[in-house]
Amino acid sequence: MSVPTAPAAAARATRPARRPRPPARARSEARAGYLFLLPWFVGLAALVIGPMAASAYLSFTSYDLFNDPVWVGFDNYRTMFTDDPRHLQSLRVTFTYVLASVPLRLAVALGLAVLMNRTLRGMSFYRAALYLPSLLGGSVAIAILWRQLFGGEGAINQILAFLGISGPNWIASPSTSLLTLIVLAVWQFGSPMVIFLAGLRQIPAELLEAARVDGAGTVRRFASVTLPLLTPLVFFNLVMQTIVAFQAFTPSFIISNGTGGPVDSTLFYTLYLYIKGFGEFEMGYASAMAWVLVAIIATFTAINFLGARRWVHYADES
């Protein structure tokens, strides 16, 4: 491993820099820069760029990890969209999940941030309490908990029964199983909420006061002052949360026991990729799936950026 040697080498290399001759200084600084970056460069080459190239190549092959890859051209990509209903199903599930959970999560996060943007003793406690689920969110324990909460005899149905509603077995029924995963995602509204809160604190009180003097009510002040000033953060959260949501894996794996069931209703894209690659050892096919995921995420990010021109308001623009 090259890491432990890098600092020592950097120290040696920078010693001549003491002489104040500018060109030599610049050269030694450049050398130091590259030495400090050495671990990152090794990682980039060996674990990012190299594997990306390999995965691009593998996506055009049939590869089971044990035998040499066999070139099959566009077959993997063709099969994915014409001859693999499970792949299409995993796309459907993932799109539903992203399109439902991201806006809901952001709306809840924004709503609570606005609610909490006031001075009240103990507010830091409330803020921490509401953030906690986000920190635990990715863990197996929470996925297990969710499976029991939304089970046929789980606590959620008992609460519903108390209200006179007879709930389904959320996890076991194909029509509701994905919903429980969306609820889980929305429950983890903490990170965007904290970002919104920080943004709300930056809004100049004079602006809101001026609007109040002009006769704007609470709703009007929020719609005309707060929200426009917050749009850069809404945009930031939208982009980041979309990228993260497309890659969700652990909850669907745990809740469906790694199958994506019932009847593939929780077959997330990443779960199907895992099943193909590490369950059925179709590594070429899984690589092709990974590139489709990259294309999807890039497309969504681009759409977000293009759409942003219409509604994101930057303070220094006007």
């Binding site: 890491v3 890098a6 600092p7 820099a17 003491r18 130091a32 820069g33 400090f36 671990p39 990152w40 990682g43 980039l44 060996a46 674990l47 990012v48 594997p51 995965s55 593998l58 990890l65 609610l115 909490m116 001075t119 009240l120 103990g122 921490a128 509401l130 953030y131 906690l132 689920p133 990715g138 863990s139 197996v140 324990a141 929470i142 297990i144 908990l145 789980g154 606590a155 008992q158 609460i159 983890q188 990170s191 970002i195 920080a198 850069p232 945009f235 930031f236 982009v239 980041m240 993260v244 894996f249 652990t250 794996f253 745990i254 990443t270 690659g277 990974a290 995921l293 990259v294 990010t301």
Partner: protein, 305 residues
Amino acid sequence: MATTAPTPAHLTRATPSPAVPPARRRPARRAPLATFAWHGLMLLLCVATLYPLLWMARSSVVPEEEIFASPTIVPSGVDLASYPAGWNANPPGFGTFLTNSFLICAGAVAGNLIACTLAAYAFARLRFPLKKVWFAVMLGTVMLPGHVTLIPQYALFSAVGWVGTYLPLIVPKFLATDAFFIFLLVQFMRGIPRELDEAAEIDGAGRWRAFRSVMLPLTVPALATTAVFTFIWTYEDFLGPLIYLSDLNDYPVPLGLRMFVNAMGQSSYGQLFAMSLVSLLPVFVFFLLFQRKLIAGIATTGLKG
């Protein structure tokens, strides 16, 4: 690159140090009734949000038959028998899973701290050719879904005989593959006045000394954020261990918990919840210790999750 535009620049600029929480305003005087109502509302929201966790905590200390008998969060009594039973329920035992998790996390934290800090210093302070290009590449890797490198990385680690060891989970961290933390540290270092480390260099310190003796001590808050989040994300990671580990004795907590679910009959939910809660304990502890820092870190940099 893509991430720079949406970054809430006015936030990072307004609060140069992620460790400094926004200034607390003095509570304004309000009608006591309104204040009372607000506390009521906030407490209600907290209980609603934390209900699943409270239910799990309660379910770990009541007799088996009571768990699914009602959705209440107040236990009828406290019986801790599920804890020792769950701790010893699976062959290697939960103690082994925890130890394994801590080993992996220690390696990952050390790796991220060393490699990401070095890279961040270069991006934040040093001038070298193609810096902007490399910085853009670095930001690009933050957004890249890990799945696209997953399979070739597996093939690579398999070829060098690392599958079945902790090396695939630790070594990449020493090569700064968690570029996200490089970004976080760069943002933080940029907020530190240049004069401080320039003065050190004028005094004759080399760049390595300026980095180690001036920059590193000033970067401690961001290093703490990096360490804590690396710990928590590594500790919660499920896919990595799932792919690379196969020996029960090597299992970290997430795999141990999952084995628990698979191996258990329907009648030992108490143990399952007890161990689930134990598995969350390290994260709770870090959260309580570093709560302010973590929240400020998210607010300024937008950590994912």
